[in-house]
């Protein structure tokens, strides 16, 4: 049952709770007060009633005196008014006698009352006889009767007085008992009221506390949140009142905020990672640019020199020299022009053609160069300067020091949505370890150490730029069947980037 009450209480609204918190004590105090008021009132009423019987006995005694006096007066004067007085007094006395009610009293009191009534009857009888005798002028008779009546009157007065007295004694005893009871009742009343008031205060305190505690908790939490600390703990509240609802909502809101914060943090982290990535790439680009700038000093000077040499050769009519110098000039121009940008595959191929021509002039046609190009893919954009370094690599490390005829085969074709650019030589080949080192980027230094012999761009750089360009790691494959079996470099770029 208590469980059910508790559940109901928890689900009640704040207004209902407050109503209950105030109404229960008020009703209780009211009920106790009313009950005490009624009890004390009843008792006071009884106190008031106590002496009523004494008052009526006093009245009775007065009536009797009046009766006796009026009789005496009539006997003295035989006046009509005295007789009227007598009859009126007799009636009053009889009424008073009939109304004489000593309440529930002990036997002696009842017996005394009975005695008084009987004596009164006798007295009234004798008094009546006296009056009649007086009227009948029976002097002796009324004198004797009067004497008897006087005695009876005296006895009666004594009896009334005695009854009055003993009732008074009893009533006084009752009165003091009632009074002391009244006092103790007042004391008890005050004590009980004080007790109930104290308990009341405690209960109201508990009720209001149970209502306001979540609110206090909430405001503390709100303050902390306002101060920037989202990691606050709000106690779970039972029930469905408004405060609980607010409390729960606040808790939910807090949880949502925390979730959002963590999401935002995550995305910021991701973004900064991305930025870091971009920075790394930019760094690489800058490095390439730096290197090419370093390299540009030579080509610019060389390019101008070569232009002068070309014109000189043309004037002299040396066609081969002209062609040679022109090719060289083109080669370096490309180098200068394209180093920052991407290029089409066709441009890259043209550069390789020129490079091979230059080398064949240098090495008197030792390099047998063939190409197999899928014309459909020649417009695909790739980072500039990726094919020439491969060919350079194949010349320098593949076929330079061999005893047999050196071949370099360039093959460009589509495969599965990708464009494959293959540079194959029949040189000294590479071991598996060497391939792995190149692909993992460790051999970059080694390759570029031979700077003087190349145009300055090593395999590592090519691979990195390809990776950044395509966004894949898998951009190059190197095949070699072992020593003196030649090497094939295959670059994979997507058809559309």
């Amino acid at each position: 049952m208590i469980g059910a009450v508790r559940r109901k209480w928890n689900n009640a609204s704040v207004r209902q709770k407050m109503l209950v918190a105030f109404i229960i004590p008020v009703i209780l105090i009211l009920v106790v007060n009313i009950y005490m008021y009624i009890s004390i009132n009843t008792m006071t009423a009884r106190v008031d009633e106590i002496y009523v019987v004494n008052v009526s006995l006093n009245n009775l005694s007065d009536d009797l005196t009046l009766l006796q006096n009026s009789m005496k007066e009539y006997l003295e004067s035989k006046g009509t008014s005295a007789l009227n007085d007598y009859y009126r007094a007799e009636q009053d006395y009889r009424n008073g006698l009939a109304a004489l009610d000593p309440g529930r009293s002990a036997t002696p009191v009842i017996a005394m009352r009975e005695n008084i009534i009987n004596q009164s009857e006798n007295y009234l009888k004798v008094a009546g006889e006296t009056i009649t005798a007086k009227r009948g002028r029976n002097v002796e008779k009324y004198k004797a009767s009067y004497e008897e009546a006087v005695k009876m009157y005296s006895d009666l007065q004594t009896s009334i007085y005695s009854l009055n007295n003993s009732l008074f004694k009893k009533n006084t005893a009752d009165y003091s008992i009632l009074l002391s009871s009244l006092r103790s009742m007042e004391m008890i009343t005050i004590m009980i009221l004080a007790f109930i008031s104290i308990v009341n205060v405690v209960v109201v305190f508990l009720i209001t506390q149970s209502m306001t505690m979540p609110l206090v908790d909430l405001s503390r939490a709100a303050n902390e949140v306002a101060g920037g600390n989202f990691d606050v703990d709000i106690e779970d509240t039972e029930g469905e009142d408004e405060i609980s609802v607010v409390s729960k909502a606040f808790k939910q809101m807090l949880a949502s905020i925390q979730r959002y914060i963590s999401e935002i943090k995550e995305s910021v982290l991701r973004e900064s990672q991305l930025k870091e990535h971009e920075l790394v790439m930019e760094n690489r680009m800058k490095e390439v640019q730096l290197r090419s700038l370093q390299a540009q000093i030579n080509p610019h000077f060389l390019f101008n020199t070569l232009n002068a040499g070309e014109q000189l050769a043309m004037m002299e009519g040396a066609d081969k020299t002209t062609e040679f110098i022109e090719n060289m000039a083109d080669f370096f121009r490309y180098n200068i022009k394209k180093i920052d940008n991407d290029a089409s595959i066709a441009e890259e191929i043209a550069l390789v053609d020129k490079y091979v021509y230059i080398l064949n002039v240098r090495f008197t046609g030792e390099i047998h160069y063939s190409k197999d190009i899928d014309e459909e893919v020649t417009e695909v954009r790739v980072p500039s300067m990726i094919l020439q370094p491969l060919v350079e690599n194949a010349v320098n490390y593949g076929i330079r020091d061999i005893d047999w005829e050196g071949h370099i085969d360039l093959k460009i074709f589509k495969d599965n949505g990708m464009v494959l650019l293959s540079v194959k030589d029949n040189g000294i080949g590479m071991s598996k370890e060497q391939i792995e080192r190149i692909l993992s980027g460790e051999a970059v230094g080694e390759v570029s150490a031979d700077h003087a012999a190349s145009n300055g761009i090593g395999l590592g750089n090519v691979i990195e730029r390809l990776q950044i360009f395509t966004g894949h790691r898998d951009v190059m494959e190197i095949f070699s069947e072992g020593e003196n079996k030649g090497t094939e470099f295959v670059i994979k770029v997507p058809m559309h980037v």
Partner: protein, 340 residues
């Protein structure tokens, strides 16, 4: 919170219970035992507060309760002292169902009794008969028997005292009829004659009947003191036919240093008298069966109310209490007191 509310409700309930208890206890205080009696008798006695009459009244009251009768000690609740005669008048005017009367045998008393009888009220007279009245019943001693008992005591006293005939004063109250006192004297004289072998001329002790005039409540004591003042006429033996006279005589004997010279034979056996008998200041006392007296008068009235007639005389038993008996009675009372 629920507990708090419970505590308050319980406190409220307890208050209610306390208040109810107080109110109820007040009801109980206020209402003493109330007896729904069938009849209302009056007990009228001169000096009804004395031990003797209280014993009689208590016995009568006990008997009355058995019959569901309320016996009122009619003078006790009144605001002033009344004579037995006045009380009798009040009782008659109060239309009692019956009156137990003791005190005086004057004409006025007789006429009041007659008036009561005319009004249909039964009257039983105790102790001293009102011979001229039409009272229903007299409950009292057989005075001849009383005389015989006195004679027995006188005999024992004279045996101790030698051959000389004692002088005897019999203290009786003025209300006692001549006949009654004569019966006592006669019984004593008869017993002396009997002893001396029916000799008409036998020497008889000197017996004087002293009537104590009890005009007011203290005159008895003064009258008795007066006897002691006349040293020439002091008797050897004093027979008291009243409990008050017995006490007065006893006190006078002690005060005048006459213990042993004047022997007292008392009447009634209350604590003072028993103590005196035990100490032999009073030689012996005649104990009247107050219980029987009280019961008999109520029985007689009850019978009269129910049947219309009753015995006109009911005797009351008497008994001599000498030193041994007094000692025994005192012991009994002490034991009873202790066991109580």
């Amino acid at each position: 919170m629920i507990v708090g509310t419970m505590i308050m409700i319980i406190a409220a309930v307890i208050t209610g219970i306390i208040f109810k208890t107080i109110t109820l206890s007040l009801d109980n205080v206020e209402h003493e035992e109330v007896m729904d009696y069938d009849r209302h008798y009056a007990f009228v006695a001169e000096d009804s507060e004395s031990d003797f009459w209280q014993e009689v009244f208590n016995a009568a009251d006990e008997q009355a309760k058995e019959y569901n009768i309320y016996l009122e000690d009619i003078g006790s609740d009144l605001g002033r002292e009344y004579s037995a005669e006045d009380l009798l008048r009040i009782a008659v005017n109060s239309k009692m169902d019956g009156i137990v009367f003791s005190g005086g045998s004057s004409d006025k008393v007789a006429s009041l009794i007659n008036k009561a009888v005319d009004d249909g009220i039964g009257v039983v007279v105790l102790q001293n008969d009102v011979e001229r009245s039409r009272r229903q019943c007299f409950v009292g001693l057989n005075y001849y028997e009383l005389g015989q008992m006195y004679a027995l005591q006188i005999e024992r006293l004279t045996e101790a005292g030698g051959e000389e005939l004692p002088s005897i004063d019999i203290l009786v109250d003025s209300d006692m009829s001549e006949g009654a006192s004569n019966l006592i004297v006669m019984a004593i004289e008869d017993s002396f004659r009997e002893k001396s072998g029916e000799d008409e001329e036998a020497a008889l002790p000197e017996i004087k009947v002293v009537r104590i005039e009890a005009e007011d409540i203290f005159s008895a004591e003064e009258s008795i003191r007066n006897i002691f003042l006349e040293k020439d006429t002091l008797p050897n033996i004093m027979l008291c036919v009243n409990s008050v006279y017995t006490r007065c005589a006893y006190q006078a004997v002690v005060d005048y240093n006459l213990v042993g010279q004047i022997q007292i034979v008392g009447y009634f056996a209350n604590d003072t008298i028993l103590d005196a008998v035990d100490k032999q200041v009073i030689f012996s006392t005649i104990s009247v069966d107050t219980n029987e007296m009280g019961k008999s008068c109520i029985q007689a009235l009850y019978e009269y109310n129910n049947m219309g007639y009753t015995n006109s005389y009911l005797p009351v038993g008497i008994e001599i209490v000498d030193q041994a008996k007094a000692h025994q009675l005192i012991d009994e009372k002490t034991n009873r007191g202790q066991t109580k």
